[in-house]
Amino acid sequence: MAYPKNYRYTKEHEWVNVENGLATIGITDYAQHELGDVVFVELPKPGTKIEAGKSFGTVESVKAVSEIYAPAAGEVIEANSELQKTPETINTDPHGAAWLIKVRLTNASELSGLMDAAAYEAYIAAKSTEASA
């Protein structure tokens, strides 16, 4: 699956797409693949303040629980409620329909340290080599 060029990526495998100061956050295709069949998602309510580097929710597969970390501070404007009924969308469309939350960023410059698509692809390629060594 291609990694959208306009997104930015974290080392913990979240993606961020900023449009007009509003950041949409999800987990990457690499992340969903590592997790396996996603069966449960827990997300913050609108109005929740999230902090950079802190967990704001969880995504669970049959066998594992994964914390999702905020790439920057801000206030949750919307959470993707569809995922409660159809968490498996995270496996099929992680970069699109399975976005997790939309956040009004406190300071968009906090995202400057994140990877672009090319850097993220190189990062996960290195991880796969490590795992099969």
Binding site: E34, G36, E60, S132
Partner: protein
Amino acid sequence: MESAATPHKSELRKTPLNALHRRLGAKMVNFGGWDMPVEYPASGGLIAEHKAVRSGVGVFDVSHMGDIRIRAAGKPGGALAAVQHISMNDASKLAIGQAHYSAMLYPEGTFVDDVIVHRLGEDDYLLVINAGTREKDINWVSENTKGFACVVEDLSDAYTQLAIQGPRAIDVMKKLTDADLDSVKNYWFTHGTVCGLKNTLIARTGYTGEDGFEIYFPSDVPTSEKVWNQVMEAGREFGIIPCGLGCRNTLRLESKMALYEHEISDKINVWEAGLDRYCKMEKGDFVGRAALERARAAGLKRTLVGIEMIDRGIARDEYCCCSETGEAIGVVTSGSPSPTLGKNIALAYVPPVYSAVGTILYVEIRGQKCKAQVVPTPFYKRQKKTVAQQVS
């Protein structure tokens, strides 16, 4: 996102099928020091694998399991006496060709390991043990059988073991062997030619709660891969897929089969684990018996129950169980979504007062008290074939 998977280490042990699993694109994990497939994304992943075993057939590489043979040395009866001494079920009741579930116990009445005991011959037994406890078990068996006229052999590395599991497993196996499988009942075994390999042990056993077979054959890589490929080829018409340890766990959990270091361990005794029917106190003395007598007289302090989540949330291994007032009462030993039932289920140790079916209790999930109730177990029980189905 942070992965919960254990990092890979180069010193992990590998089964003879390791390279094949990697070629199939399996996701590998460290399981008790073994580099094992947890799921095969190419065959659809954990849930698809689980459903294949419940409705069709799947194949598992379980070569990491250990095998200990105990046979008579000279004087007949030495092996039986040794097996009776080190395990809690009554091996004197086994016919040649029959197997049973049992366990080896510490003098405290707690678990060294659980085990399947097969009676191979007149005074000849094969004990199949867990992967993570192999060395410990072998040392323990050697130590505790010293006074008996028997020979103990560790055959763990001699066999590749495949589990072919599911309602169609028998159809797959019939294409691969000349043995009369219809006459092999659940927990019995036979020997026959399988994939051209003479005298192969074929047991009607498994760890999925479904009908199925486990086969044991020489562990060299070419033979192991050849048999795997022939099983896959024979199973194609029945929709066979490779299955990993991920669904092995969800399948055994639905069927309430114990997993070492979870439902059973060196801290838990037989009565607590609810394995009374495999423990034959009247057979004579065995290691752990005296402690079990005392434990029975003292009464149960905790017992294993099945629970089902009522609130949203998945109970996971080691999560805390609490009462309505928030008082800690027990711990989850295994918890997962159940692919067959579509519910979130778990096994947990709680005081007997909380063990009645229908009892409400709570599981603490990331600081939240989530409501659950005690339900009957096993969570899933396979339908026995009707007479009409057997005839057709």
